[in-house]
Symmetry: C2
Subunit: 587 residues, 2 copies
């Protein structure tokens, strides 16, 4: 691929753009726009920001992603988990509703954008690997619970706070007496209606005789119906006068030009949350993008995705938005609606821009409780109660990482939750990596195969010890190798030869080499020969660049069979006189 | 081993203690005591502490290590690198010479002791693996340079400071005008003399007719000679009046009972340096202990070593000392002098205690420059100029970790140096772990062996793709696996079967499993069968605890040969009509 097209995927798909693709993209854009308007407002609310910020975050980022992104169908914008993380990070800087809070959110988008783009240019997408599946799913489950809990106050119409679960619940318990019955009368039916829309509406409409495709579309429009119905209810019963919180005046117009803060003190406070937002956003986005790409046998380029998401976030910052990423639900809708290229995203941006120019006055009387109901229903599908049991059965270590992530996220908030998840995963990995697999092997009778002496009936001789190493030798297990070999040797006083069978060793790093040297030296001190067998070509090439092979107190054999045959024979002869050892410096 | 003896190794070796062992231990203790007196004073100086603190750190810690340690010959006490780290950490709290500085040093010993013991009880010695050989050797080289540079001020008799190289050199450049010629007249000859003692004295004495063993002992007593000669010079020329800095009055008596600080704010500032001191001290100590143990075919228990060093540091804190660990030079002397059990360490403690009771007045006139010369000569042997070249030839990644550690330690000090070394090592490891080895394989003609198609002439068929995975599938490489397999598949439109050959897969964690499920699902969407071959027993047992095998879009074969033979035969049928593909959603 030419370098320019690599960094500007638009040059690739743009060349074959035609009228039929245009029609499909436009169609998808209309559907996604309708879905995105209430979602953008709701997620801005979750992030503790004015609703209009959600609209701003759904315009320029989509255009930039269309230029730089590699997924054909990913729909970028505000998402639930990143909104929660934004609320947590900005809330540590200033109170919600202040100019400082908004500035912190914009600066987070800027920092996150710069970090994502830098990671992409450095081709450091592999860092996302640090988040294992159990950690991600634990984090998403806990976030879903936190987000749903955080929205209960809007359903009740009370003023509660907290950014971890105990604080949230405590705060709700204190304020529940102030519950506004009218708000509740909007919130609970809206929540139940949206649940029904999600779970049963499509089937019910089909049973009522609607054709499947129309039923599907009608069910997708459910949130818009909830918005319309509750606005009508507010007007009909004059709920504004009865203390029901409304969205109120949303400034009309296109996104403003905004400047993120360049205050070093603020950046120092925000860079860690920005990094976490970047990584979580990237992982979520890439998972969605890969799933959708595979369905059409397309590929995405993870490092270029980092650049695309980085550009989207920088654009969000400069147009008064907050951190964005690729969202699961809306991308699936975009895909299902037939989007073929990222141009669909750009058309969606136009749709949202038109909405912010002309539609916002219609939303004046929208109850906040309706938006909260939208969020609650959306995030409860993130809570996954099956995974813990599956992990427990499959792998206790993965279960531990999963549960630790859920527990710490709920108790200490999203930032510590992610960090703890990564740390626990890494510690467990390092612990396992420090105790790799190896086995004492013997020859399977009448073959040239060598198998674990503990599992198979195999031939061994007391003066030769064959050890098969089942991993690459790296600094994480170098010390283990020394201990493993020397312990096996200490058990066998009659030993004269050790063969390390290296068929599974793909790499020996400098620490591994040093351990091999130490083992060679110590075996030599004890008058024991150290031999290698089945060393892979590239590993051998590298060993030849050192003095290790020259100093080896034994031989390198091409096959384990040849090594064992030759050294086992070294048994028949009477033991050489002491002079023999003296001459070799062995005693 | 009984549980009690595991935690109290003294119960093991104490039972067979007899008069002959006692004689050997006493002999070694006398020699180590003579060596340790000037060293303790010098390292306390390096740590920015009063000389007597070095003596205190060489008494109780030795007794506690004798009870809890597993090495028979390790000699514990103040060492150069840990002294430098102490100076750096305590210097961030208070100015040298203040009570707060001393309190910080004592608290560091306490924290470090508690951390070491806790890691030992948690059996977390594997964490020391995070320090690879290239990182450790880079850190030791840079520390040697920093330490030698820090002592130049004492040779010149000026007041300079700094805890990184540029600051130290800058400070020396500013103050070099104040050089005291008399101090220089002591410092330079003392340095040269000690260099000669280390490098050429033994040979010279032998050439002069001394028997080898006596020459060796005489050379080892060189530092004591330097101490005696410079004291005589101070008295003869009344150098005190000429501005030569002297050790001065050292309080006579046994170590006091000291209390480490329990101030939370201080502990918050010190816990990171204390952790780094613990890990560096542990790694240095274990390397020495293992090397010596192997020479006598003994073993050490790394987790119990943590407990032994932890107890030594707690003892150091409560007796007014600072962080200690096992030192290389003195342990070798202890070993060579014939020490057989840790009792030699306890006897050394008695020796140092006697010295602090009776000998300290003799050291009143000892020039600081002599101690500085002792340090400079000792640490320059730590500077290793060969390793960078060897690493460059052997492994660019290890070279990068080594050089980064040296550079950051010199430029930003010891703490950031260790942290950066660990981080660089881990990043490079994760980067490699995220791109593990795998190969497309084919059958070697007329055998049952399968080898890499790029290196060997092997048999393949266009509709079967065999991929050998050469690593365990973990979360670090799970994403890579998906990409690798799906890219290979995207290249071959005629493909009908993929076989994953799992002979080298020792483990599949939950993320690896999820990736296999994703691959299975996507291959299934494309009408391609996914098969496994040569899955190890324990891996298969675990897969059976999930639905993966049931949902597998293909079969599990015991051998790769059987898989290839059966699936290659699936070729004979005429190509299915287009409808066949259409029905499977492939076109």
């Amino acid at each position: 691929m030419p370098a320019l097209a690599r960094y500007f995927p638009i040059l690739e798909w743009g060349r074959s753009y035609n009228r039929s693709v245009l029609t499909n993209d436009l169609m998808a854009a209309v559907i996604v726009t309708i879905m995105l308007i209430p979602q953008s407002l709701a997620y801005a609310l979750l992030a503790g920001l004015p609703p209009v910020v959600g609209l701003y975050a759904s315009i320029m980022p989509l255009v930039l992603y269309a230029i730089f992104g590699t997924s054909r169908t990913l729909a970028v914008g505000p998402v639930a988990v990143v909104s929660l993380m934004t609320a947590s990070a900005a809330g540590a800087i200033a109170a919600q509703g202040t100019a400082e809070y908004l500035e912190a959110a914009i600066t987070l988008a800027m920092l996150s954008g710069v970090m994502l783009a830098a990671l992409g240019l450095l081709r450091a997408g592999f860092l996302a690997n640090l988040l294992s599946h159990p950690v991600i799913s634990g984090f998403i489950t806990a976030s879903g619970i936190l987000i749903a809990t955080s929205q209960l106050k809007h359903i009740l119409g009370v003023k509660a706070g907290g950014d971890n679960w105990p604080d949230m619940l405590g705060s709700l318990a204190q304020t529940i007496g102030d519950t506004n019955p009218w708000t509740l009368a909007i919130g609970i039916p809206a929540t139940l209606f949206l649940f029904w829309v999600r779970k049963g509406a499509k089937r019910a409409l089909q049973l009522a005789g609607m054709p499947p495709r129309a039923a599907d579309m009608a069910a997708k429009a459910g949130p818009v119906a909830a918005v319309a119905l509750t606005i009508v209810a507010v007007l009909a019963f004059d709920l504004a006068a009865k203390g029901v919180n409304l969205v109120g005046a949303i400034p009309q117009g296109l996104p403003p030009f905004a400047l993120p803060s360049t205050d070093i003190a603020l950046i120092q406070q925000l860079w860690v949350p920005a990094l976490l937002i970047s990584i979580i956003g990237f992982v979520e986005s890439v998972s969605v993008a890969q799933t959708l790409a595979a369905k059409r046998r397309q590929r995405i380029a993870p490092n270029q995705e980092l650049i695309g998401l980085g550009a989207a976030n920088v654009a969000s910052a400069f147009s008064g938005g907050y951190p964005v990423t690729g969202g699961f639900a809306r991308s699936v809708v975009n895909f299902d609606a037939g989007a073929e290229t990222p141009a669909a995203g750009a058309f969606t941006a136009v749709g949202i821009a038109l909405a912010s120019l002309f539609l916002t006055p219609l939303l004046f009387n929208l109850p906040i409780a309706t938006l909260a109901a939208t969020i609650i229903v959306a995030v409860l599908s993130l809570v996954d109660l099956k995974t813990p049991g599956q992990l427990w059965r499959y792998s206790k270590a993965d279960f531990a990482a999963h549960v630790a992530t859920i527990g710490i996220t709920l108790l200490a908030g999203v930032e510590l939750g992610v960090i703890a998840g990564v740390a626990v995963g890494l510690l467990l990995y390092l612990w396992r990596a420090s105790r790799p697999h190896a086995a004492v092997v013997g020859r399977v009778p009448e073959t040239e195969h060598f198998r674990n002496v503990e599992r198979h009936k195999v031939i061994t001789v007391p003066h030769v010890l064959s050890i098969r190493i089942d991993e690459s030798l790296t600094y994480l297990n170098a010390r283990w190798l020394e201990e493993y070999v020397l312990e096996r040797v200490a058990e066998r006083p009659e030993l004269r030869h050790v063969i390390l069978m290296c068929s599974a060793v793909n790499e020996i790093d400098a620490s591994g080499l040093e351990s091999l040297e130490a083992i060679n030296h110590r075996l030599g001190d004890g008058g024991i020969g150290m031999h290698l067998s089945e060393v892979k070509g590239p590993v051998m090439d590298r060993l030849h660049r050192t003095h290790f092979i020259e100093e080896l107190n034994g031989k390198v054999f091409l096959s384990q069979d040849r090594a064992f045959s030759e050294l086992a024979r070294d048994d028949g002869a009477p033991p050489p006189p002491v002079d023999h050892y003296l001459a070799r410096g062995m005693i």
